[in-house]
Symmetry: C2
Subunit: 155 residues, 2 copies
DNA sequence: TATTGTTATACTCTATAACTATA
DNA sequence: TATAGTTATAGAGTATAACAATA
């Protein structure tokens, strides 16, 4: 399993972890409820965002980056390919792999849906104080580092 | 005064919202991958946590609290009832409602699974600096307020 | 052998729709 | 009427298992 097992050196660690868990869970459910019936799902948005920032990627690499199994990512990418959001090209040197890239339609869909997806959350964030908004920005970076922290199972 | 609809008054709002979205999404996927095959699902843990802190609740109230449809929550609670984690009692004054409460088995399961669920995240959090851990705690409270912020659809 | 990708199957969570019972 | 709950059905997202092709 993960992590060299740091035995809860002080209580703050467990408290922060537990709080973060419940808070993120609640936010995710609320977001799902508030942004229902959209053109693109959250998973699809994550794929578009990553391909846009990281460039063309293979199924296996995308699966690792998004912490899902290659079979799951394969389904997601194939669906998006069928919908014309992604384009599949053979890997230049590895005959097993394919590289997926955004199509024009994919870029446009992402731009179009992005604002709609954020509408509710941006409104909610706007009601916070400037300090709280800064806290969120700081925390988002930390959370992203956590999600990406290197204890990868080989899967 | 009541801030007449803040249409992204300054870029920070949209940036914070977008960052929080992608960061939470990534963390949720990573957590799912790292804490697979556990005795209780995340949704079930959320139910147990809420009932433990808020006391017995009806299906409709739980659904509102967790931002899901009553039908969805009804299924979740019925399954947990069948598993002996929850107990259903008739509402004292309203003949339509039922009040769900933790059983002893539910309390024990929550305590047992809680540590296991947190193991990976607590380990990851432990690698952060003390400042970053404080940032997370602060942010968790803000995130919870966001998830609970009062723009409720009537559903 | 190890890795990449595909296909088939199943499970969890949630949604919508249609219904009954109670307020 | 409005609300609470139930049941049936469907969909998205992911997992496991078994397989073929390539490295």
């Amino acid at each position: 399993m993960g992590m060299p097992k740091p035995p809860s050196d002080f209580p703050g660690v467990d408290i922060a972890a537990a709080d973060l868990l419940t808070a993120c869970g609640q936010l995710v459910r609320r977001l799902r409820a508030e942004t229902n019936n959209q053109e693109l799902s959250w998973s699809q948005m994550a794929v578009l965002a990553r391909l846009e920032s990281a460039g063309p990627m293979s199924i296996a690499d995308m699966a690792r980056a998004e912490s899902v199994k290659p079979q799951s990512m394969g389904v997601t990418l194939s669906v998006m390919e069928d919908e014309g959001l992604l384009e599949r090209r053979p890997h230049p040197t590895d005959g097993r792999q394919f590289l997926f890239a955004l199509t024009v339609a994919g870029v446009e869909a992402r731009r179009r849906v992005r604002a709609a997806k954020q509408t509710w959350l941006a409104g909610a964030v706007a009601t916070l104080t400037a300090d709280e908004q800064r806290d969120l920005l700081t925390a988002a970076a930390v959370i992203r580092r956590l999600a990406d922290s290197s204890t990868r199972d080989t899967q």
